[in-house]
């Protein structure tokens, strides 16, 4: 398929891999964090680690929208879904995320009207077609998905649709990256920056990482060759003693981002004082809620939301996985008590979660001799 096959070429991959080899300092090991779950997924799905020399370790970061939703918010969602007047709409990945007492899929089996949608506009369509129902959309995700929720709110207002409500859980990526950089647990050499988030926010907002923390960051696309090239560009910076924000994904990401999308977000949403992230705890100014002008569409105002904070199960180490402190297989319950079919933690649910990606794609003894030779 054009515009995809080019970025999956095995021949080019081997050549970039050889170039990467030439940039390695003998005896040094490198830890690069891919911030975004889309990258984690691509790394395992295409077997990118097979093409990286062993001194390079890719550490998986917090940018998985499903993974960062805390259990309490899942319970809130289930409480909304179980209201008789509510049709609850959600992305498919959220259906299987465990709350304190089961998942949305379990609630659906008990009789709740839960429907899977592919976009918030689909949820609005459900509301339009079922005026007697109150349709709630479970809005999750980083800056990548926020604009589509924002746009849907504007459309709901323009069309005067009053039976549509947003349960807003949108989060922002920068506070999470800062929390990781400030965490003493981890020594990182550089970042593979999020591609789709950057199409919205641009590359400017990452400058503090290069300037204050002296870490290179390369915004990358999601094809395997994109990731490999980003690794090469980070190594180039390290070799040349630079720490800058660079854009590998120029075919999609503009430096200034998407001004229209940012305006749409600003028109409909504002920062929360604080928000709980699964495993990372409360991070100030890290999430969005609807602006007062959109109170009529705000599920948190329309309904009594329990809002009970639920501690993660003791055995679950999603927090450490999300911060990149441990690898998925280092979690005590990985693959035994916690599996994709019976997940304890969110990282085992989402296809972008590090544990699910490793379990589904990476769970075998890798042989890298071919590359090292």
């Amino acid at each position: 398929m054009r515009f995809v096959d080019e970025y999956r070429s095995g021949d080019l991959a081997r050549r970039v891999s050889e170039e990467i080899e030439t940039l390695l300092e003998p005896g040094r090991s490198y830890k690069f964090m891919e911030v975004c779950g889309g990258h984690t997924h691509a790394i395992y799905r295409h077997g990118i680690e097979d093409l990286l020399p062993s001194p390079i370790d890719l550490v998986h970061g917090p940018g998985c929208p499903v993974c960062v939703i805390p259990m309490g918010r899942v319970d809130d969602a289930i409480a909304l879904a179980e209201r008789p007047e509510v049709t609850f709409t959600t992305f498919g990945d959220m259906l299987r995320v465990p709350g304190a007492a089961g998942s949305l899929l379990d609630a659906k089996a008990r009789g709740a009207d839960v429907r899977m949608v592919y976009s918030p506009l689909d949820a609005l369509k459900v509301a339009r077609e079922n005026p007697e129902r109150e349709v709630v959309f479970f809005a999750i995700g980083f800056e990548t998905t926020t604009p589509s929720t924002a746009l849907t709110l504007l459309r709901a207002r323009a069309e005067g649709i009053r039976n549509f409500f947003v349960f807003c859980n949108h989060v922002t990526i920068l506070p999470a990256i800062r929390a990781i950089l400030d965490s003493p647990d981890l020594r990182l050499d550089g970042f593979v920056g999020p591609g789709h988030v950057s199409t919205v926010i641009g590359i400017g907002p990452y400058s503090f990482i290069a300037r204050d923390y002296r870490k290179p960051l390369v915004v990358a696309g999601f094809e395997p060759l994109d990731v490999l090239q980003a690794v090469y560009m980070i190594l180039r910076q390290l070799t040349e003693g630079r720490s800058e924000v660079e854009n590998q994904y120029g075919r999609v990401v503009r430096s200034a981002g998407n001004q229209r999308a940012l305006e749409t977000i600003a028109e409909t949403m504002e920062l929360r004082t604080t928000f709980e992230w699964r495993g990372l705890g409360f991070i100030s100014q890290s999430a969005l809620k609807l602006r007062p002008e959109f109170a009529d569409w705000d599920a948190e105002l329309r309904y009594e939301v329990p809002g009970v904070r639920v501690a993660d199960p003791k055995a679950c180490q999603c927090g450490e996985v999300l911060k990149g402190v441990i690898k998925p297989w280092e979690c005590k319950v990985f693959g035994t008590a916690c599996t994709p079919e019976r997940p304890i933690g969110t990282c085992m649910v989402s296809s972008e979660g590090a544990c699910a990606a490793y379990y589904n794609y990476g769970r075998f003894a890798r042989r890298r001799e071919a590359v090292e030779a």
């Binding site: 999956r8 799905r45 093409l51 297989w329 693959g335 035994t336 769970r363 890798r366």
Partner: protein, 358 residues
């Protein structure tokens, strides 16, 4: 390279995977019907436990019954596809072909089918006639008669229009032995054509995705193709039709049953550009998407080229390909060598990306 501690964890995970599954869910969810891991657990930990007997235990596409020297294959399948009419077919044709194919995968010559209809009150008789006519035509093409039937009508609001069940009876040649137990390291994995056409065609026909793609279901009876394949070579070890859960799921079942590994070559897997494109957009792996007119064959290495040529000479096997090889290790796992030059696990399906496709 994988370090020693990681290897220990991986071994523990494999041991865990091999344990007899336990059903922990209190309620049936859609995942139990998706053909993946949850379906497996329901079948093994509930149905097999309560109904278990030597005929059912192999859990193949059809069971083999022997009486007075005659070997019969028997199978059943229910169809709840939505929409009832879709590009390339309808629920009636699907119900006939699905059961014919289950018989064919056991190497059986189909003798006759039965059909059960559960119809919602208010369903248009014109549609029911159209579906029955299409079943008749499909049965004719497959050279099999619908020999018995049953109709039940349920109140409005149930059965979503129409559900169809078909059962089938076929006869198996005396000397034919198709079984995962016959699979050996070095065997080749063949598929009879492009993968994922049926599942994607149904998803697109539903219109929820607002994708405009011209794609037809591949629903077709495979008994003729299988007859030619088995006539051309005796190197066929085992056949499966990759319906719900796709090629990935049937190969996982075979890898576990045979206690061998299977390595697929991503570049060799035949896929339509439309299916690749739609799957990219939806984030679905075509290896998990259902087929209704394709077979997967495990064939001895020396017979692989002959088998491939035979499949390709048949209209239903024109795009057949050798897509992988059986290996001694890693036992019970399916791996994929990616186009990119990496490798990864291809596990059984968890969850249900595409409900009610058959």
């Amino acid at each position: 390279m994988t370090d020693a501690r990681e290897l220990e964890v991986l071994e523990a995970v494999e041991r865990r995977r091999r344990l007899k599954p336990k059903l922990k869910d209190e309620l049936v969810t859609l995942a139990h019907g998706a053909g993946g891991k949850a379906s497996h657990v329901l079948t093994e930990a509930l149905f097999l436990e309560e109904l278990g007997n030597p005929l059912l235990a192999p859990l193949g596409d059809a069971a083999l019954v022997q009486d007075n020297g005659t070997r019969l294959a028997v199978t059943t399948d229910s169809f709840v596809v939505k929409p009832l009419f879709f590009p390339g077919g309808d629920i009636g044709e699907l119900a006939v072909n699905g059961t014919v194919n289950d018989l064919a995968m056991a190497g059986a010559r189909p003798l006759c089918l039965t059909a059960g209809f559960i119809v919602e009150e208010g369903f248009p008789t014109a549609d029911l006639r159209r579906i029955a006519a299409s079943m008749g035509a499909a049965a004719g093409r497959a050279g099999v008669a619908v020999a018995a039937g049953d109709t039940k009508v349920v109140e409005r609001g149930n059965a979503d229009g129409l559900y169809v069940n078909t059962s089938g009876l076929g006869v198996v040649a005396d000397d034919l032995e198709l079984s995962p137990a016959r699979i050996r390291p070095g065997d080749r994995v063949l598929v009879s054509g492009t993968l994922g056409d049926h599942g994607m065609a149904i998803m697109i026909a539903r219109g929820d995705l607002e994708l405009e793609v011209e794609l037809e279901s591949d629903t077709a009876p495979l008994a003729g193709l299988v007859r030619e394949l088995l006539g051309a070579t005796d190197g066929v070890r085992c056949l499966r039709d990759p319906t719900r859960g796709g090629l990935a799921t049937v190969l996982n079942e075979l890898a576990v049953d045979a206690d061998l590994g299977i390595v697929l070559d991503e570049t060799a897997v035949p896929l339509r550009a439309e299916v690749v494109g739609a799957c990219e957009i939806l984030g679905i792996d075509p290896l998990y998407v259902a087929n209704e007119g394709k077979l997967a064959a495990i064939v001895a290495p020396e017979a692989a080229e002959q088998a491939l040529a035979t499949l390709r000479s048949h209209p239903l096997g024109a795009a057949a390909a050798i897509v992988g090889e059986v290996t001694a290790q890693p036992a019970g796992l399916v791996l994929l060598r990616t186009t990119f030059g990496g490798s990864r696990v291809v596990d059984m399906l968890v969850g249900d990306p595409l409900p009610r496709i058959c």
